[in-house]
Assembly symmetry: C2
C-alpha cells in the first residue's frame, strides 16, 4: 500500500500537477487540467479522471455534470516528474465545455486564433439535465 | 502587424503559458514546457519551438545544444486561452534530455513509475559536441 509513486511527483507550491488528457485511440489532445494528490489517487482508484478545479477549489469528477467521463487507459509521467499524461477514452466524444471534442479547437492561422472544430452538441443541452 | 493573438492569451502572473509539444505525424506527446510572450512570438517568426526556461530564466531555443529542434507544424490554443498545443516535427527523433523520444517515458504500472521507452542515444553523445 505504498504511496511512493505519489511522493515522487514534484507538486507545485499549491500541491498541484498539470495533466494532459489524450484520447488513447486517436492520440488527439482533448484537454489540460490540474490534479492534486487526492484527485490523482482517486483517479487511479476509480479508473476515471478526477481533477482539481482551481476556480471552484474542489475535486472535479470530470463528467459529473455533463456525463462526459474520461476512462483512464494509461498514466505516464515526464522526466522531471512534474507533468502527468493521461490516455483516456472520452465518453460521449466531447471533452470541452463548449460542446466540442477537444478544448484545443482554435488554430493560429494568419496570426488569428480561428475556430477549426465544430460544436458537436449544444452546451445548453449538455448541462441542462443536471440543472 | 497586430499582436492581438498574443494579447488574447491568459498569461500567468509570471507571464508564462504552458505548452504541450506533440509529434504531428504520430500524435505522440513529446514534452511539456513553458513559453512567455517573447518566446511564442519568436517561435512563430522562426518556425521552430523556442521556450522559456524557468530554471535558467532565459529563452531556450529547443535543440540549441542537442540539435534536436522542433519544427512547428501547427499551433492551437484551448478554450480557456491559457494552454498552447504545438504540433511539431522532432528533428533527430529525440525530445527528452535523457535521449528518449518522449519525456513521458515512465508509465504507472502496479503503482510504480516504470520506464517504458528505450534510450535512443546516450545523452553524453547528444550534448558532448557542443561542450
Amino acid at each position: 500500500m505504498s504511496d511512493t509513486w505519489l511522493d515522487e511527483i514534484k507538486w507545485t507550491e499549491e500541491g498541484l500537477c498539470p495533466v494532459i488528457a489524450q484520447q488513447a485511440e486517436s492520440g488527439k489532445i482533448l484537454m489540460f487540467a490540474w490534479m492534486n494528490r487526492e484527485s490523482l489517487a482517486l483517479s487511479v482508484a476509480e479508473g476515471y479522471a478526477i481533477y482539481w478545479s482551481r476556480s471552484r477549489k474542489r475535486l472535479w469528477r470530470k463528467g459529473e455534470e455533463s456525463g462526459h467521463r474520461q476512462k483512464i487507459i494509461d498514466i505516464s509521467i515526464d522526466c522531471d516528474e512534474d507533468v502527468i499524461l493521461l490516455k483516456i477514452e472520452q465518453e460521449g466524444g466531447i471533452a470541452c465545455h463548449t460542446g466540442r471534442e477537444s478544448c484545443f479547437y482554435r488554430r493560429l492561422i494568419d496570426k488569428q486564433w480561428q475556430t477549426a472544430e465544430p460544436v458537436l452538441k449544444d452546451p445548453q443541452q449538455i448541462y441542462k439535465k443536471h440543472e
